[in-house]
């Protein structure tokens, strides 16, 4: 099974019925996860996205390489300006947001800005998008990386673009890599589960810091029924592109 599908299943399982979730650009897996949740356990979740369709019709949906592709809004019930989603977030009414992370530290803080120094970067990354704005104000922050490695899970970020764990806040931070699932705690990043096909050594040897390990499970992959849903939404496997970079 492709790690993308496992990750989609984990992302979907973060969404409870009735919650408001948002995804941004370059987010094929979050888009599919939101539909998967809506079509299974969370029919009343509110789907907000960078293509600005509120609750697009999954029957009319097909995944394309740009998350803002206007076809991603097909069959929506209304136009939901991203600005409006940001306002909802400011009011504490966005339950969850998905963000990538080029670098992730043990507190689940993220860097999406640059490798090296800001003023003279070795690599200028695409940028944080909504990370700095949303990461402190959503209730669930779902971070993902398709590159579980020491370069991703770093001791120290080159730039702090987004904020992960915050003590005392009603905020859950989940980190989903192509190998494992973590949740941010005061002690650090706690391993929740390891994806089928990977060992704990695979996971730990590719991190620059030690996560908290005190019991973990095997990540639940999507069922056959769920795979059918994912495949129907993304018949051309656009979701796997992210892994080829």
């Amino acid at each position: 099974m492709h790690p993308a599908d496992v990750m989609i299943k984990v992302m979907a399982s973060q969404i409870k019925d009735g919650e408001v979730f948002l995804h941004g650009l370059a987010s094929p897996m979050p888009a599919l996860a939101m539909f998967l949740a809506k079509l299974t356990h969370a029919p009343n979740m509110v789907y907000l996205a960078v293509a600005e369709g509120i609750d697009p019709d999954p029957e009319k949906f097909k995944l394309y390489p740009s998350s803002a592709d206007p076809r991603h809004a097909a069959g929506c019930i209304g136009i939901g300006e991203l600005a409006e989603a940001f306002d909802l977030a400011a009011k504490g009414k966005v339950d969850g947001m998905f963000l990538g992370g080029a670098q992730i530290d043990k507190h689940a803080n993220i860097n999406l800005t640059c490798i090296g120094s800001y003023n003279k970067p070795k690599v200028k990354l695409p940028g944080g998008a909504a990370a700095a704005y949303l990461s402190p104000i959503v209730k669930k922050l779902i971070l993902w990386t398709t590159n579980h490695s020491k370069r991703t899970f770093v001791e120290k970020l080159d730039f702090k673009t987004g904020i992960g764990y915050e003590k005392g806040k009603d905020k859950k931070v989940v980190v989903i890599s192509n190998m494992a699932v973590f949740e941010a705690e005061e002690r650090g990043l706690r391993l929740i589960s390891v994806h089928p096909g990977f060992s704990i050594d695979d996971v730990l040897s590719e991190m620059s810091f030690e996560p908290v390990v005190d019991g973990y499970t095997t990540t639940q992959p999507p069922s056959d029924e769920e795979m059918k849903i994912i495949q129907k939404l993304d018949p051309e496997n656009v979701r796997y592109l992210e892994f080829k970079k």
Binding site: L25, P65, A68, L82, P126, G127, A131, A132, K160
Partner: protein, 270 residues
């Protein structure tokens, strides 16, 4: 209402070297690519370009050497990778790049649209963006005067020119955005000059019959240009999707060091 219909060259004449510019759309959607081609051709430069999440528009302007400073929350080609020319120019110190965050760009543009000197914006505090923007004078952490604690104030963003590609417009500059609007209405209202490029020209009765369609009324508009396929290869909702193959061809030519050839071709298209 005065007739504001002009051709692309006349619209480009409204821009001066050194201006701060903003463009409609995000990523591969509703970017005013035809205008950008003509802008590159004009030889004007030293632009500051600002947007929430641009893509090929920023990358090709940077590749053409027109840009002094780019300010955005994200610039790239999503699954197709980084913006090659922005990346290179930033890494080689050829342009200044100001990393933004979506909520701040949006509220800065809204402040501009509302005629306010600034707007507060939540979040952000605790990230490395604050120091960067405080130094540049774009943001300042202030105390909520009503006791809610610290909050970021974003200085109004008032571009010299906004170029907005819309689906429909009349010759007086009334314009209709269909589907996703992004911050385009705010951009249109914040800018000192507003250039509308339109996929299709409609008679004013189109708006009179249903005034809700008029998302950008003529009183904001400086000039309107009829440019079918004016967003190509990015999408124009209800008209055409992004041409992913063409975007990939651009990226391939960039990789192969042939960006100047692509630009020549891109200009010739218009």
């Amino acid at each position: 209402m005065k007739d504001k219909l002009v051709d692309l060259d006349a619209a480009v004449d409204l821009v001066r070297s050194g201006d701060t510019l903003t463009f409609s759309g995000v990523s591969m959607v509703r970017k005013p690519m035809a205008f950008i081609a003509k802008l590159i051709q004009s030889g004007k430069k030293d632009f500051t370009i600002i947007d929430r999440e641009p893509g090929m528009d920023f990358d090709i302007l940077v590749a053409a050497g027109c840009v002094k400073c780019a300010r955005a929350a994200m610039v790239g080609f999503e699954l197709f990778g980084l913006a090659p020319n922005v990346r290179k120019a930033v890494q080689e110190g050829e342009i200044q790049f100001i990393e933004e965050t979506c909520g701040a760009v949006v509220n800065g543009l809204r402040a501009g649209a509302m005629g306010l000197p600034f707007l507060p914006v939540k979040g952000i505090i605790g990230t490395d963006l604050v120091e960067l923007h405080e130094k540049l004078g774009n943001w300042k952490i202030i105390n909520d005067p009503f006791g809610g604690g610290e909050i970021v104030a974003v200085k109004a963003i008032v571009p010299d020119v906004a170029v907005i590609h819309v689906q429909k417009a009349d010759r007086y500059g009334n314009a209709s955005l269909e589907g996703s609007r992004f911050e385009d209405v705010y951009k249109a209202k914040a800018a000192k000059k507003l250039i509308i490029t339109a996929e299709e020209m409609v008679p004013s009765d189109y708006f009179k019959e249903n005034p809700e369609r008029n998302t950008i009324p003529y009183c904001y508009t400086t000039a309107v240009v009829h440019v079918p396929e004016g967003a190509y290869p990015t999408a124009c909702p209800n008209y055409y999707p992004p041409d992913y193959e063409e975007v990939l061809r651009y990226l391939k030519m960039c990789r192969e060091g042939k960006v100047k050839e692509y630009i020549d071709e891109f200009i010739r298209r218009w």
